[in-house]
């Protein structure tokens, strides 16, 4: 699907939904980690949700109010969902902070790519300017996340193994 956004209203509607859905998904993941006794990851996802909520507020400030929403299927995402949301099916109850941050980093990189592509494809200079700004912000977040990621060890090869395996059916 070609990305065609040529008004600031459309751009802000997309940016708002992108950030709002990211908040929604991070809160969902935080809840999942709480339920599965992973408090460190729950805290991480709550933190990410709080950061993205600040972006929601910023977009609303730029728009002057909450942008008019589109139908969920009318957003011009190049991915099945908005690019800054962790895709459904990506979590695991035994993942470690490194894996969680890898998911988050991928979200930021998809968001950056979305705004960069939008800046390339639009015919409106004002939309281009704002899209370039949004892409730069997402890139900045991605760089910060790479620093965070370096602080946490990669998972062991058998990270998914569980001594109380739910699949055991003896």
């Amino acid at each position: 699907m070609n990305l065609v956004i040529n008004t600031l209203d459309e751009l802000l509607a997309h940016a708002h939904e992108l950030e709002r859905e990211a908040v929604e998904r991070y809160e969902d993941l935080a809840g999942q980690m709480e339920v599965h006794n992973q408090p460190e990851l729950a805290e991480l996802f709550h933190k990410m949700a709080a950061i993205e909520q600040q972006h929601v507020v910023k977009v609303e400030s730029l728009a002057g109010s909450q942008p008019r929403p589109l139908a969920p299927w009318d957003y011009q995402w190049q991915t099945p969902e908005s690019p800054e949301s962790v895709p459904v099916g990506q979590g695991h109850y035994r993942m470690n902070p490194h894996q969680a941050l890898t998911l988050v980093l991928a979200c930021e990189e998809r968001a950056e790519a979305f705004f960069a592509e939008l800046a390339e494809s639009t015919s409106d200079p004002a939309v281009r300017e704002m899209a370039v700004q949004f892409a730069a912000e997402e890139k900045q977040h991605a760089e910060l996340l790479k620093e965070w990621l370096a602080r946490y060890p990669e998972p062991k090869a058998d990270w998914w193994q569980d001594l109380d395996d739910p699949i055991a059916q003896e």
């Binding site: 929604e24 809840g31 339920v35 599965h36 909450q66 929403p69 099945p80 099916g89 695991h92 059916q169």
Partner: protein
């Protein structure tokens, strides 16, 4: 799907979500379905108190606890019966039944068929993961015959149930299939299903990452329907019987009259019944 666009969003996901945290496994497809349902309700601007979510038993049937809408966590397989009674008594409510492949097609198989036949105005949303997840991974009616597992070595050898074809043959008025990894696509199907009069059936392929981890690859197997929905049951039947089970979209849109209550439900009628039954 004509709808005047609101100036601001009256409802969003959070207006339908309860404070109860889902206990589904992280990565479960049902999270995507839940999100789709809330997006559809928000799009339709349905106040949570005007929506009733009725379920049976199983992982998928936990949704009533996770929503701010009215909910009824009912008897295994019997959610369509409960929902039928509710819709006939309270026709102004939007009634949605959430179920799974075991609940809807095995334990509740008979209820599924007769709900299609009656054509009461409700939407049945079946989250199909082709396994009994809540009870630790037994084959369900939609599990492929050769699915090998500790509990069914070599597979069951039994042909899987064909839910959409059965729904068509039984009289469902709207038949569609979606994939949980495409929440916006499923939201669109649900909007159409809820808006269409009569009994609407939406099967959503929803991977069980714990007992059927291979279902993660469904995202590479699903494909959108390349044809428009048909109003002709014969054409729909041919498509469904020749389908690979991974086509998403609307297959059939019928125009059968919706079943409505012929018995009045006013206070006067209820008083008359009470008098008649008084001992």
């Amino acid at each position: 799907m004509n709808k005047a666009e609101p100036l601001i969003a009256r409802y969003s996901h959070k207006d339908y979500k309860s404070a109860v945290k889902p206990i589904w496994c992280p990565g479960c497809g049902h999270f995507g379905v839940e999100s789709s349902l809330f997006r559809a309700l928000a799009y339709l601007e349905l106040p949570p108190e005007q929506v009733a979510v009725v379920s049976g038993i199983g992982c998928s049937s936990r949704i009533p606890a996770y929503t701010q809408c009215y909910g009824f966590h009912g008897v295994h397989g019997r959610a369509p019966a409960v929902a039928t009674g509710l819709k006939l008594a309270r026709p102004e409510l939007t009634v949605i039944v959430t179920s799974g492949d075991g609940d809807a097609f095995s334990i509740g198989g008979n209820h599924f068929i007769h709900a299609c036949r009656r054509n009461v105005d409700m939407t049945l949303l079946v989250m199909d993961n082709e396994v009994y997840g809540m009870t630790k991974g037994q084959p369900s009616p939609t599990t492929p015959a050769d699915w090998d597992s500790k509990i069914a070595p070599g597979g069951t050898g039994v042909n899987p149930f064909a839910p959409l074809a059965v729904a068509l043959a039984s009289g469902a008025n709207f038949i569609a299939r979606g994939f949980s990894g495409d929440p916006n696509g499923v939201a669109r199907l649900l909007v159409e299903a809820i808006q269409h009069p009569g009994f609407s059936f939406v099967q959503v392929l929803s991977p069980c990452v714990t007992y059927r981890p291979e279902e993660k690859f469904w995202k590479k197997m699903v494909h959108s329907s390349s044809v428009e929905p048909t109003h002709d049951p014969a054409v729909a039947g041919h498509r469904l019987l020749s389908d690979d089970g991974f086509t998403t979209g609307v297959f059939y849109i019928g125009n059968r009259p919706t079943y409505t209550a012929t018995v009045g439900t006013s206070d006067n009628d209820l008083s008359a019944i009470e008098e008649e039954l008084a001992i």
